[in-house]
């Protein structure tokens, strides 16, 4: 990965996000007023989560592309070296495939172990979760509740009740068994 510029792509997307926040982001951040304030505010937050997800996604793709470009460069370099030393390029499909596979695997191993990938993955996962949570809230509050339909949050509440009840029953059964054994 020595020739790839992962830092530059990271810097670019940081800059892009900062520029967005200083311009369009400010419009999106404007306070919402009026009778539909709450619903509109949820829409606004979801838009913000979408932008953050988009930025993290683009940054991950750019990092992957850098790794691909580096792997391709190294493969090409190896083929050129082989031609220079042996006077011929890989003679069969299999020779070339092995060279390609080994080079790509090794380059990506290095990339996947780098702090860039770990931070890309963490950011992408975090922003995806924010987007998913915000979308769920939006759908629940703006669509399901007005339509008088059950929501995931309500189902989760029920699941928790069931979980706690089952746990209590188990503990009581265990205590009963213990008491019976003692007798």
């Amino acid at each position: 990965m020595e020739n790839s510029d992962l830092q530059a792509s990271h810097d670019f997307f940081e800059l892009w996000l900062k520029a967005y926040e200083a311009t369009y982001g400010r419009i999106v951040d404007m306070p919402v007023m009026g009778p539909s304030r709450e619903g509109a505010d949820r829409l606004r937050k979801n838009f913000e989560a979408t932008i953050n997800l988009h930025a993290a996604w683009a940054q991950s793709i750019a990092s992957f592309q850098s790794a691909f470009a580096e792997a391709t460069r190294q493969t090409q370099e190896k083929v050129e070296k082989q031609i220079a030393e042996e006077g011929a390029s890989p003679s069969s499909y299999k020779d070339y495939y092995d060279l390609w596979m080994n080079t790509y695997s090794e380059t990506f191993k290095e990339f996947l172990k780098s702090r860039f990938f770990a931070s890309d993955l963490a950011k992408l996962t975090s922003n995806s979760m924010d987007f998913q949570k915000s979308s769920r809230e939006l759908i629940e509050e703006n669509l399901l509740k007005p339509a008088n339909l059950p929501t995931r949050t309500e189902i989760d509440d029920l699941s928790k009740e069931v979980y706690l009840l089952k746990k209590q029953v188990r503990e009581l059964s265990r205590d009963l068994k213990g008491s019976a054994k003692k007798k």
Binding site: L112, K113, F117, T125, I155, Y163
Partner: protein
Amino acid sequence: MEIADVVENNRKAMRMLEVFLKVPEFSVGTTPSEVVYTEDDMRLLHYIPLVKKRHPVPVLIVYALVNRYYILDLQPDKSVVRKLLEDGLDVYIIDWGYPSGVDRYLTIDDYVNGYLDNAVEKVKELSGAEKISLFGVCQGGTFSVMYSSLHPEKIRNLATMVTPVDFDTDDGLLHVWAKSLDADKIVDAYGIVPGNLLNTGFLLTDPFRVLIDKYVGLFEKLESNGDDDHGERENEETVKNFLRMEKWIFDSPDQAGEAYRQFIKDCYQKNLLIKNEMMLNGKRIDLKNITMPLLNVMGEYDHLVPIAASKPLNDAVASTDKETMVFPTGHIGMFVSGKSQREICPRISSWLTARSG
């Protein structure tokens, strides 16, 4: 590329198509067993003995929540379970099942002090043994270590295989990535963490090998087997074996959110288990409580659970009878490779049988 190459490639493609069109049904986990206990999604399976004389101390195998238990009994000639049975061990295994939305609040405590403890009690009841052997694999090994520390009076022997206990290592990619994951956000958003999400992580540890090279290797093997009847039979077996592994790899149960949250935060991020600081329902897990014989088995080329994550267990416990076995294989190779059947299983089995009298 010349016309002759195009014609040859077309011929190969047609042959592959024929191979796949002929492949019969395949099955996994075929060693006969009966379900002896169920609780929610969890099932406890008891394998039907293969030999008359059995050792009196039964073995309970505990596999991970991620992926399915049948990797230990993938097919008759690649079966850890079968090897143990052939050596006269009385074998039980836990199938954790497929958690659904209602299971999102299950914690590690529920798994270890709930399901696992109830399974141990059931095995004791059915076998009549006062203590049993625990054989924990991967994350199931971590659970078995926790259990043995909290309930040492019930465990005669503890065997762990590719089991992480010291998570503070950068040798495996999962350990590197998990450190920066926001488990709270994942669990709060999903509730039940999708198995496919975790599987994507496993695939990313070596993407070109597992997403391309594996399939190229299959086609090369099929191509090399020849066109005659013998070649056709070999191809059928090759495809069936491949599909069994393929089924296992992508058969990824979803994860109970709270258990996942605690595993990532307490184990991968804070590394509490090896420091004797991990708590389950108010009880501290002290590895020095582990005094029973310990066998710790690991793979030299394991990229999911590196040796650095498993090896420290032996120094952390108080057992005097303890042994480490390192084999030159990877994580999956531990269960399904030729080496597994020839070398790994017999050695684990003889370690257990020697302590099951």
